[in-house]
Structures are given as structure tokens and as C-alpha cells.
């Protein structure tokens, strides 16, 4: 640790106002506070001391995402070898997935952090650390064959239009990673429509993804249901995650490990997470009883394990910036997300996956929910005081 500190002390003069690398000052500061505990203390007023700052919070989320990422890599390889009908060992599958997924992680971080650093430098602000998490989530919620240039455009769009123009980290109304996905979803629907996520075909083209006509496609379970076909994946498979889908969203077990890390470290709210599942289950049960289309007849426990429901509930709905902040509001927010997600799935055959749209919609309503909860509380206390 002291070696790192010495190194930073040694190169610091280069980044002072007269130094030759002053243009990269914000980059230096960003790396310094990422590696070491920041030295700065507040100059005025009271400050609450806590061992955890926002960079550490972000680190916890990134750690929580690792199981889903690793399993996603394995599943990419598994689905590939399943599709071409060959036997392969664990490491062959994992290696194949690693080569397919890693470029996406790199592109997402490079584009997003590049824009963040540029904006920070331009506005003479410190680098904001929010993209550490978004940059990890983005590769996990895209299909494996999504070309890298499309991913780069979508990431740039989301960082600029969903985050920077609202004032940067902590100010965004919509979840940045979900905006990336929404942009892909509406711009390149053939890649993203969710009914048919392509399983990686016979070769990997690292720059452009797999777009050859021979690429093998496999329907996702929700896509099959939307087309009124029986679901071929078993319940066990959808829990362990050996089904076609976006890279990080398939395995309930890996996501559950992430959820435990998030809840244990106190980063995510169990109220939001829990009520998303309750909302989804209740609405799925209602549809089971009331309707007879194929998606409506999926049992409620399968609804919760299929598609991006778990991933959205654990990592996106609980985003502390865009979700409701009042304690009572968290229940309402979560319940409505779960309910909306299942409703969109069942009622709209055009969108087999409803989680993204449900969370984005509720992001827009989160401030309203908070306002109503706070106002209700004020009224209640006023009434009590008037007695």
C-alpha cells in the first residue's frame, strides 16, 4: 500500500497547475481516490464520518456482479457448444465465453469512462465514480452477439443523455445501464427484441460480433411463450441459468449470491428487492387465474426466474439513485415494478421481456411516490398536532 502511495506522491507534481500533465488532472485524482482513501476533509460545517464513501459502495456492487458475470461467460460457451452439438469441457466453454464477453466489458468501460473523464476535465470537476457499476452492468444485459460498435454507441448515448445532461452521478432520473439497453432495444430491435437472443454461432468476431447468416439462433423461453409454443427449458435450468438469454441475466443462483452481498453490505434495500418479487408473483398469479394466453399460463415461480426479472429486481430496481428513497415508498416502488413487468410480458406480445420497461417507467415515477409519502406523513403529523 505504501508503495502505491509513494508512487502517487512522486507523480503528483506533474498534475499540479504548472505541471506538464495538468490536462489529465481529473484522471489522476480519480485514480488516486480509487486506490487510496482520499486525504481531503471538509473545510466547513459538520460532516458525518463513515468508513464507506461512494467509491466503496460502487465496489461492493461490482463485487456482487462478479458471480453473474462469471456464470454468464460459462453459459455463453455452454449455449454455443449445445447449439453446434459438440461436447466440450468446462474450461473450453468458459474460455469461449471469456473471449466473447470480455471485449464487451472493455468497450463499455472504455466508452463510458472516457466520456466521464472528458466531462470532468471540461467542467473542472472531480471524476464521478458512478460509471464503475453501470459499466459492469451494461455488458451483462446485452445479448452475446451484440456488435461492439453498437454497444459503444448505446453506452455513449446513455452516459451523455441519461446522466451527464442531468448533472452526472447521483442526478440521473433513469438508470444509465437500462437506458443503454433501451436504446439498443429501440434502435436495433433485430438484435434485442428478447424473443430470440442469438446463441453465438460458429466463430467469434471480436470487433463486430457475430452477424454471419449461419449463426445459430435459439429462442429464449419467454420468446417461445410469446409465440404460443411450449417452453423447452426446465425450471431447474432456469434457476441454474443454463438457458439462452442476455449474458448476465440467466442464472438465479449467481444473482442470488450477488443479492446476498448487496444486502449484507447494506448497499441495496431489501424492501425494494422483496416487494418487486411480491408484486411480480401476485400479478402472475392473477394472470394464471384470469387469462389463457401462453405467457399468462407460466406459473408464477417460473415467471420470477425467467428472463431479466431477477437481475432487474436485484441490481437495477435497487439502484439508490433512481429508486424511491422513502421507506414506505420503496414498497410501493418495488410492488409496481414487479406488477408492471409481468403485465407487460403477458399483455404485450411485442415485448416478451417487460422488466426493462417496467423499471424505466417506475424510475420516472419514483420522485412522485416519494413526494406523496412525505406529504402524507406531513399531513398525518399536522392532524396529530391539531388535536
Amino acid at each position: 500500500m505504501s508503495a502505491i502511495k509513494k508512487y502517487f506522491d512522486k507523480i503528483r507534481p506533474n498534475f499540479e497547475p504548472e505541471g506538464k500533465l495538468h490536462a489529465f488532472r481529473s484522471f489522476f485524482e480519480g485514480m488516486e481516490t480509487f486506490m487510496l482513501v482520499p486525504n481531503a476533509t471538509s473545510k466547513s460545517g459538520v460532516s458525518v464520518h463513515d468508513a464507506i464513501d461512494s467509491k466503496r459502495i460502487m465496489s461492493f456492487v461490482v463485487i456482487a456482479l462478479i458471480p453473474a458475470l462469471l456464470f454468464g461467460m460459462y453459459n455463453v460457451g455452454y449455449q454455443h457448444y449445445l447449439a453446434i452439438g459438440e461436447e466440450a469441457g468446462f474450461w473450453a466453454m468458459f474460455g469461449y465465453g471469456l473471449i466473447a464477453v470480455l471485449p464487451k466489458v472493455v468497450v463499455s468501460y472504455a466508452v463510458g469512462l472516457g466520456i466521464e473523464f472528458t466531462v470532468a476535465q471540461w467542467k473542472h470537476e472531480e471524476i464521478q465514480e458512478g460509471f464503475l457499476v453501470s459499466g459492469m452492468i451494461i455488458p451483462l444485459i446485452v445479448p452475446v452477439n451484440c456488435p461492439l460498435w453498437i454497444l459503444a454507441i448505446a453506452t455513449a448515448f446513455a452516459v451523455i443523455f441519461a446522466k451527464e445532461i442531468f448533472g452526472g452521478t447521483g442526478m440521473n432520473i433513469f438508470n444509465v445501464a437500462l437506458v443503454t439497453r433501451a436504446f439498443l432495444f429501440f434502435s436495433y430491435p433485430s438484435m434485442m427484441s428478447g424473443d430470440k437472443v442469438w446463441v453465438n454461432g460458429d466463430y467469434i468476431d471480436c470487433i463486430n460480433g457475430v452477424v454471419n447468416v449461419d449463426a445459430v439462433t435459439a429462442a429464449t423461453p419467454l420468446g417461445e411463450a410469446a409465440a404460443n409454443q411450449p417452453i423447452s427449458a426446465s425450471f431447474i435450468d432456469s434457476v441454474t441459468g443454463l438457458i439462452p438469454g442476455c449474458i448476465g441475466e440467466t442464472s438465479v443462483i449467481a444473482i442470488a449470491i450477488g443479492a446476498i452481498i448487496l444486502l449484507w453490505s447494506g448497499v441495496a434495500s431489501w424492501k425494494t428487492m422483496f416487494s418487486v418479487f411480491v408484486g411480480g408473483a401476485v400479478v402472475a398469479l392473477l394472470f394464471n387465474a384470469a387469462s389463457d394466453n401462453a405467457v399468462a399460463q407460466i406459473p408464477w415461480y417460473e415467471h420470477l426466474t425467467l428472463g431479466g426479472f431477477c437481475f432487474g429486481a436485484v441490481f437495477m430496481a435497487t439502484d439508490p439513485v433512481t429508486s424511491a428513497r422513502t421507506e414506505c415508498g420503496k414498497y410501493i416502488y418495488g410492488l409496481l415494478i414487479g406488477a408492471m413487468a409481468i403485465t407487460i410480458r403477458v399483455m404485450n406480445p411485442g415485448y416478451p421481456e417487460g422488466m426493462m420497461l417496467a423499471i424505466l417507467l417506475m424510475n420516472a415515477f419514483a420522485p412522485l411516490i416519494d413526494y406523496c409519502v412525505v406529504q402524507g406523513n406531513i399531513n398525518k403529523r399536522l392532524k396529530r398536532a391539531a388535536k
Binding site: 460498435w149 453498437i150 443523455f161 429501440f186 436495433y188 463486430n208 452477424v211
Partner: protein, 212 residues
Amino acid sequence: MGKLFSKENGEVFMRPLNLDNPVTVQILGICSALAVTSQLKPAVVMGLSVTVITAFSNVIISLIRKTIPMRIRIIIQLVVVAALVTIVSNILKAYVYDVSVQLSVYVGLIITNCILMGRLEAFAMSNGPWESFLDGVGNGLGYAIVLVIVGFVRELLGFGTIFGFQIIPQSFYTENGGYYMNNGMMTMPAMALILLGCVIWVHRSINKEEKK
């Protein structure tokens, strides 16, 4: 009435093109700017139609401004605009039928375009016919410029064409073995709103000094 091309009249014509642009500064006429700009051709036709209607309704109202009773002036303005819109709509149907089908109701809805009523109320009711004509043309063209910019970007990125001619080579597309895909979101009005926001952003950054 001063000279036809005096400095003041030049100002009346030039201001709406840039510093007082009806779309990017006054934020008027946004609805139609989103609806008709998915391709360049309807955007140009729409821009020209609005220019013609604004110019001539300005002139007509300016000519009869002293005889209009104040209490019913809005109705009279609407009658004039509606008559001009009907004429333009029929001309479009006669000569560029396909574009008029693409524009569908939006030609008729020029009547409700805020730019028109704004210029009639703010300018034509208190200025002479020639100034009003210049003001109308300037505002119409200011609107048309923004439409053309948005339409250009949307058609290029959404369809790969300009005025219907293929600009991005066919061999770039994934169907033909390339790596390029058209951006479907560009063809949706939502993206038009974001592009319009970008145009306003750029315009305001350029004109930062003049604003103060």
C-alpha cells in the same frame, strides 16, 4: 414605411433565422417538427408550406389590421390561416401527392402551429405589410432550417438515404455481409425530440455571448 431593404427590415428578416429562431429559441412548433422529420423530403415540403402560409397570412392580416375589431381578431386570423392552409394542402395534393400522403394531417394542423398565431399577434397586428411579409418569411425559414437539420440526421441514420437516394453503400449492411445497421430509433419521434434538444444545445452554446 421606410425603404424596402433598410437595415431595420433586414433585421426583421434575419433575427428569426438565428437569434430569435421560432423553434430553437422560442420553442414553438415542436409537435410538427417531431412528426414530419423522419425523412428529408416531407421536412422540406413542410418547411416551405409553413413559410408560404406564415408570409401570406402575415401580409393579409397586416393589410386589414386596422379594420379588425379587437374582440374577434383571433377568429379572423384563424379564418385567414385556414383558407391559406386549404389552398396549400390542395396544391400539395395536386403536385406532390406522395409527400402530402406522408404529411397526412400535419398539413391541416399548420392552422394550430403556434408560430403562425404568434407572428400574427406579435407582429402583423402592429406592422405594415412589407415588414410583416419579411417577418413571416424569416420565421417560416427559421422553422424550415431546423426541420431540415433534424430531417437530414434522421433520414441519414434511420434509413441510410438522403431524399430517398441511398447514401450509405448497400454493401455495408449486415444483410449483404457488412457490419452496419440502420438505427431504428431515429425513425421514431422520441429520437427527434432528443435531436431537437441537441440542435438547441448547439445553438445556445454558439450564441452564448449574444444572449447576455
